[in-house]
Symmetry: none
Subunit: 194 residues, 4 copies
Amino acid sequence: MKKEKLEAILTTARTAFARYGLRKTNLDEIARMARVAKGTIYNYFRSKEGVYLQVLSREVEEIVEEITLSVNREVSPEKKLASFVHSKFQHMRRAVNILNLDREGIEEHLHKADTIRNDLFESEVSIVVSILKEGMEKGVFKLNDILLTARAICHSLRGFELNWLVGGSQERIEHYLDELQRILFFGILSERNC
Amino acid sequence: MKKEKLEAILTTARTAFARYGLRKTNLDEIARMARVAKGTIYNYFRSKEGVYLQVLSREVEEIVEEITLSVNREVSPEKKLASFVHSKFQHMRRAVNILNLDREGIEEHLHKADTIRNDLFESEVSIVVSILKEGMEKGVFKLNDILLTARAICHSLRGFELNWLVGGSQERIEHYLDELQRILFFGILSERNC
Amino acid sequence: MKKEKLEAILTTARTAFARYGLRKTNLDEIARMARVAKGTIYNYFRSKEGVYLQVLSREVEEIVEEITLSVNREVSPEKKLASFVHSKFQHMRRAVNILNLDREGIEEHLHKADTIRNDLFESEVSIVVSILKEGMEKGVFKLNDILLTARAICHSLRGFELNWLVGGSQERIEHYLDELQRILFFGILSERNC
Amino acid sequence: MKKEKLEAILTTARTAFARYGLRKTNLDEIARMARVAKGTIYNYFRSKEGVYLQVLSREVEEIVEEITLSVNREVSPEKKLASFVHSKFQHMRRAVNILNLDREGIEEHLHKADTIRNDLFESEVSIVVSILKEGMEKGVFKLNDILLTARAICHSLRGFELNWLVGGSQERIEHYLDELQRILFFGILSERNC
DNA sequence: AATGAATGAGGATTCATTCAT
DNA sequence: CATGAATGAATCCTCATTCAT
């Protein structure tokens, strides 16, 4: 079983993509770093994009796994929600370039990459859904439409990815996440103080 | 006045970038479409990225202008906020590929692109700040820290750009925006019904 | 009389050629530095090479003039020869263009440029010839063939131009010139001590 | 062993550079003549200049080798010196364009070319030094400073390269070399006949 | 399965020269 | 005379992919 090469390629590619992004990473580099001939890569993958897709896939799986773990460590729905938010950013930080939005340079497989990225999104949504559901059952949350709310929350969080992870913003993200959470729980209308 | 060529180049480039993105648009194409010699482009711009930067710049300016206009059409702070959100997405829809987030590994010149994109963000924040301020003064909103809240809101909205504009998600964005707005105003905690 | 533009072009071109060489100097640069439109240059010169040729011509004239002056200040043939050598290098230091053989990028006018450079050489030879002649008449020098000797000397001196002026050698040229002069006068054979 | 391609590239490049010089030789040409894809050249060299540098290097090595051989064929120091001068020009004649002195304004990469050319110069100096030394020991030459003299001689010889090799002068170089040699040995002062 | 040499289709950029105003 | 916008040929370099060994 000579899966070692395959493993080497994927590991190396992950590192390379993480550091330089999809486009700026070229196969020469991966091959050199993986101590493998360039041709070997083509024994396992149809193309550079094939490699990327596989790396992306693995990454998403891992991230979902780790977020789930973090959430399950908490008991109350509020804390679970908070844990979700924080662990999401913790674990995604390293995957910035891999998830990378670099929509160019993927062309035909763009669709597949989107599908994978959407899997991540849907997994997140489904985690949030169960948190919200539990909150509803326990009377902590009050919502009209759990799924809609969950999706809205997840969409919102992507904004922080964009500016913070991708944009390399120097601001302390936690501030904003905390603020967002506060709004999320209480809203901004003064009437809530009735 | 021979600014016609320059205008032709910028207009064409805008269209091309909007359709194919920065990388897949090549100068040959722009030159051909603008009925101009490739060298002519270099009379006006130092490089391909120079063209992109200019197009990006213009686009951002226009968007900010149009959002501001839309907001000012409303009177109440709540409606202004709603108007902000909706017009933001209306006007950004067309600029998807131009603003495009292709990160391609944090390059030299692309740094300027980030700066321009951040300008857009800051402009948005400043619009939201004035809305929130007005809301506070009128006693409609109740907030601890206006700036922080404004930034948190703007960060959140970026998530919708990511999934909806960039990701080409087929979902009806308005649903989510409305839901987000509802949460924004009232929060999700049941305690608000005290 | 609008010779000002012409003068500006030539002066600027001289500087530019001296600093960057023929090939790396482009007309844009000359035009910009001379505060003149690029097209204007083509009113005075048929081509870039035409400009170069003119610059080269002027330099040669100036140098010959100045060397002649320096030599004529001396009285004895030996001192005249020494003066020739030293003033040649003094005055050529600034005229790097002449040496700038950059044979590539001149193409068709290569021949003309060579002719101009040869003019300088021949002028030098003719100066040395008259020095040697005078030396012979006064019985200070003893030679078989004045012209041949003069040419050999001038050829030799070009070696110092090459390494010192062009090559940017850091060595103190005077050392070598003095040594050369010593050999020139006495030779290296020990038999001279008969 | 697939070094054939490399050899083909270098051989072809040598021919091309020798015929057209560095600038007028383009990679397309080399590739075509070497029956090789353009990209292949980049497998072996970082750039066009990389190719040039290698060719230049080889050429210099060969020249030094051949000059040394010629000199060693002679026995007396006087004849060795004469042999040095003549073989130097013999062997350099073919390398004119390769060594070519197109100065193009002291560029980045060309700095290395200068280094290589200087190596040639230093090798020549060191050959002359050993000839002079031997001459001194045998009482044939009388000198104050061997190194200084050697360098002065080599500098002088460069003048002949300049006018004869590079300048394409039609004159019979041997005449001048012989004359130079005569002066070198005996000087021009009549006092030598004491 | 593994290699790595070879490929060649692109794409960005430079610059001398022309010409209408 | 002066301008400077427009031209487009020429050239270097990158890199995903193929293929003979």
